[in-house]
């Protein structure tokens, strides 16, 4: 029966069949299940240990207190047989919660690691090429990977399911709530695993350590989101990707009073475009599922492109315009409310700008073509084009806005304008006390800075060096991170040296301190730098795009 089931899976999704087949060694499966069961057993033992015991001789008032007891101020009462009256629901709810949290961490971190390392290994060995050549769709192959690669992890988690359900039901959580919780976990796994696959496909150049990098990023993310409360800033959107956000809603369906406390998360304040998501479990969970679905969809857009053709950029230029609008609208929804932690309304604008900066760094990586692609574009463009016009021909503009493999700078500029429109919605809607002029100047500075980074990245990707991707990533990260650190070491605070800060990745730090004149000076300087860099880029593109004959004649 088992084999025929596996067989049927194999006909439906051969990739999943292959992954399971490679891992379905009875010994491994049994070990995974036993480790899981042992872990659960130990956890139960520890939980048992915290039940009340008869140690009244230790306490001064000859009474026993325990958090699971039902008496006044948790004093332990005994029934006629001398057994303690224990609030078992409360005890089970703690087990349910702990199991859930451990489950989230194990599923997301170990799964991320497995998928990234599996894909990186296949890409390195070259076996992925054969799968690419098969008539199966990329969706089917990659879904097979997601379902099959963490097979032993699934065995591990499934072995813990009975206890999880039992604990939940004993705690008074309705079955449907537990099932919904698992639906959210599955959606979050799908999102994280899709992201891992994309990371694995994208980063196969970072030999060896990318599984560690990917899974430790996941760990850091999950860990921090366990502690960050709802702040009514765009950060709420980021923390929403952690399934831990949904756990309180599930736990609270149990009617145990004063149960495990999630009050520090301030979930009730959770809002999006003034819609109160946090007050309503159904709204919160639906929105969370929608969020996972939307961003999984975008990840799969990249996956489909990269899987069949690893030399393509992750996103096409036209996709990027839509994606940026999507992200900006999503983030704007969280930025409109007044932040709980800051009295100044522009706080949210700054957070939006930080997010934007990160978004555009990611966008640069996703849009900038590699040297080979750029060369093909520069060298053979004239042969693809029908009519030859000068440098500023309409064909060129069209190419820079829509075509594959063309430099991404114009596309990034368009995306910046796109984000600017949405930022201006915030400026119009919010009761800001800031000088409108300085905000506009600041946005202009931010835009040119981003474009400068994009040009530098493109220039770095044109290098001959073999590890240009790593170099490019390193230089951009250094450009973003190092200047503020240096300025801080030199104790040049934004108030003291606003002009310097305008050249870091965080120019809005000086929005209050800098005069319009200073900002304008910085803007003009940056435009100059931008023009110089683009001149250089243009020159380099012309050089790598020239024909062999021309190169030969030049050397002579």
């Amino acid at each position: 029966m088992k084999l025929t089931l596996l067989d049927r899976i194999g006909d439906l999704n051969p990739q999943m069949w292959r992954e399971i087949k490679g891992r379905f060694k009875p010994r491994n499966v049994i070990i995974a299940a036993i480790i899981s069961l042992l872990g659960q057993f130990m956890m139960l033992m520890i939980a048992m240990g915290s039940l009340p015991t008869d140690d009244r001789y230790l306490s001064p008032d000859n009474k026993i207190y325990n958090k699971y007891c039902t008496g006044v101020s948790q004093e332990c009462l005994q029934d006629s047989l001398g057994n303690f009256v224990v609030n078992w629901q409360f005890w089970w709810i703690e087990i349910f919660t702990v199991l859930s949290v451990i489950g989230i961490f194990i599923l997301l971190i170990a799964g991320t690691y497995m998928l990234i390392s599996d894909l990186a290994k296949e890409e390195k060995n070259g076996t992925l090429n054969f799968i690419r050549l098969s008539p199966r769709s990329s969706q089917s192959i990659l879904l097979g990977k997601i379902l099959g690669v963490p097979f032993l992890l699934y065995v591990f988690v499934i072995s813990a399911l009975p206890l999880h359900f039992w604990a939940g039901i004993s705690a008074g959580i309705p079955l449907i709530a537990i099932l919904i919780y698992w639906a959210v976990i599955i959606a979050s796994c799908f999102f994280f695993y899709s992201g891992s696959l994309l990371f694995g496909l994208f980063s196969s150049g970072f030999s060896g350590f990318q599984p560690w990098l990917g899974s430790s990023l996941a760990l850091m993310f999950l860990w921090t989101t366990c502690f960050i409360p709802i702040s009514n800033t765009p950060a709420d959107w980021i923390t929403m990707f952690s399934p831990y956000r949904i756990l309180p809603y599930v736990v609270n369906t149990s009617l145990v009073q004063d149960s495990f406390s999630f009050s520090y998360l301030y979930l009730n304040d959770w809002q999006w475009f003034y819609l109160a998501l946090g007050n309503n479990a159904v709204a919160a969970i639906s929105f969370s599922l929608f969020n996972y679905a939307l961003w999984s969809y975008w990840i799969w857009q990249g996956l489909q492109r990269r899987f069949h053709n690893p030399s393509k950029t992750i996103l096409s230029k036209s996709q990027s315009y839509l994606l940026v609008s999507c992200i900006e609208v999503m983030a704007l929804g969280f930025a409109l409310q007044v932040s709980r932690f800051s009295y100044s309304p522009e706080n949210n604008l700054f957070i939006l700008l930080v997010l934007n900066q990160l978004l555009f760094l990611g966008l640069m990586a996703a849009l900038s073509p590699q040297r080979q692609a750029l060369q093909d574009w520069a060298r053979y463009r004239r042969e693809r084009m029908t009519n030859r016009w000068g440098f500023w021909s309409r064909d060129l503009i069209k190419d820079l806005i829509w075509a594959e493999n063309s430099p991404a700078i114009l596309a990034i500029a368009i995306n910046l304008l796109n984000s600017l429109i949405i930022l201006s919605v915030w400026i119009v809607l919010s009761p800001n006390k800031l000088n409108l002029m300085s905000i506009i100047a600041m946005l202009a500075v931010t835009m040119t800075l981003t474009l400068i980074y994009a040009t530098i990245l493109q220039l770095m990707l044109l290098m001959r060096a073999k590890r240009r991707m790593q170099w490019a990533a390193g230089v951009i990260i250094a450009l973003v991170v190092l200047p503020p650190i240096f300025l801080s070491i030199l104790s040049l605070s934004p108030a003291k040296a606003p002009l310097f800060w305008l050249f870091t990745a965080f120019p809005w730090a000086v929005v209050k301190d800098a005069s319009i004149g200073t900002i304008f000076t910085a803007f003009i300087c940056q435009l100059g730098i931008f023009a110089l860099l683009n001149g250089q880029l243009n020159r380099q593109l012309k050089v790598i795009g020239e024909s062999a004959t021309k190169a030969l004649l030049r050397e002579v």
């Binding site: 194999g10 292959r18 087949k21 050549l133 098969s134 008539p135 053709n309 093909d376 053979y380 042969e383």
Partner: protein, 316 residues
């Protein structure tokens, strides 16, 4: 685009930096042919085959397989169903057994039971790995792995096979087995593109040959035509009597273009410009002249000497 052409490329070019690996190649291979691709290392053979297998993106140019444009995305599953590609480094999965490995690829190519098992046995039989079907792949020898890779390449009965150096690193017996397999596949009607350095193998297998040099396809013709154009007729003659007598006879014969005495023997290799009838006439005249011949056989220059004669030694 003609339907009879299994492969047709138009202006196919691949440039890596300044280095043009494949330069404006118009390759045409008719259906049912075994096409040998020869050329020195670095001439662009592997890049060309990789582009034909959609494993590499051309800088510019078009590829048509059976008249359909080959693109590097998922728009053409039927086209992929027709292609089989064996790269020179043939990576495998070490965690699977031989059977599971082939089963996996058979499933990827949508082969259903009971056809699948049947085909698996058929292919295993062909590559002589039937008795190894339950062995893990990491226990196989190099030759076996190569044959397993070939089995993987043909499991879905492609009509076009692209084989990149399939016999490199194999011992003579394994090479012979490989040749036999290729012949069987050709008889089954597959079009096969094969690149190799072992020219004697190609001479035996191929119906057409293409020669690549510096990224260009400098020659592409049927083997018969290549022999006709470039290979000289040679006759090996040996005598039991005096060599001088034979040589003086040969000097007087007008169709003899040159000769070479094979050192240490009484054998002469004669470059001959005539037809087979002229050959017979030469034999008759030598016998009439009373020269005690004990060997006289007509032969042709082989592919290797043609290749060397053409002077295609430069890498790109």
């Amino acid at each position: 685009m003609s339907k009879e052409l299994a492969i047709c490329t138009r202006g196919l070019t691949k440039q890596f930096d300044r280095y043009i690996a494949v330069n404006d190649v118009d390759l045409e291979i008719k259906a049912g042919e075994v096409y040998g691709l020869i050329g020195p290392n670095g001439a662009g053979k592997t890049t060309l085959i990789r582009m034909l297998a959609a494993a590499e993106e051309p800088s510019i140019g078009e590829i048509y397989i059976n008249g359909d444009r080959l693109m590097r995305d998922q728009s053409n599953p039927t086209l992929k169903q027709r292609l089989g590609y064996l790269p020179d480094d043939f990576p495998l999965y070490d965690d699977l057994t031989v059977w599971d490995y082939l089963d996996y690829f058979a499933r990827l190519y949508r082969l259903r039971e009971p056809r699948r098992s049947h085909r698996l046995y058929e292919v295993l039989e062909l590559v002589q790995l039937t008795n190894k079907r339950n062995s893990p792949i990491n226990t196989l020898s190099r030759g076996m792995k190569q044959r397993l890779s070939l089995a993987r390449t043909i499991i879905h009965e492609p009509i076009l096979l692209l084989l990149d150096e399939p016999v490199s690193g194999l011992d003579p017996i394994a090479r012979m087995q490989f040749r036999e397999i290729i012949k069987t596949l050709q008889e089954a009607g597959m079009t096969i593109l094969i690149s190799s350095h072992v020219l004697s193998d190609l001479a035996e297998l191929c119906t057409s040959v293409g020669i690549m040099e510096l990224g260009y396809l400098v020659e592409s013709a049927s083997l018969a035509e290549l022999y006709r154009r470039l290979s000289r007729q040679q006759i090996i003659i040996s005598t039991l009597g005096k060599l001088e007598a034979l040589l003086s006879e040969l000097k007087n014969y007008p169709l003899v273009e040159g000769y070479e005495v094979l050192s240490g023997t009484n054998q002469v290799r004669v470059d001959f410009g005539g037809t087979p009838e002229d050959c017979a006439r030469l034999l008759r005249s030598l016998v009439k002249a009373g020269i005690p011949l004990n060997e006289f056989h007509c032969t042709q220059e082989d592919l290797e000497s043609i290749f060397l004669k053409m002077g295609h030694k430069q890498a790109s």
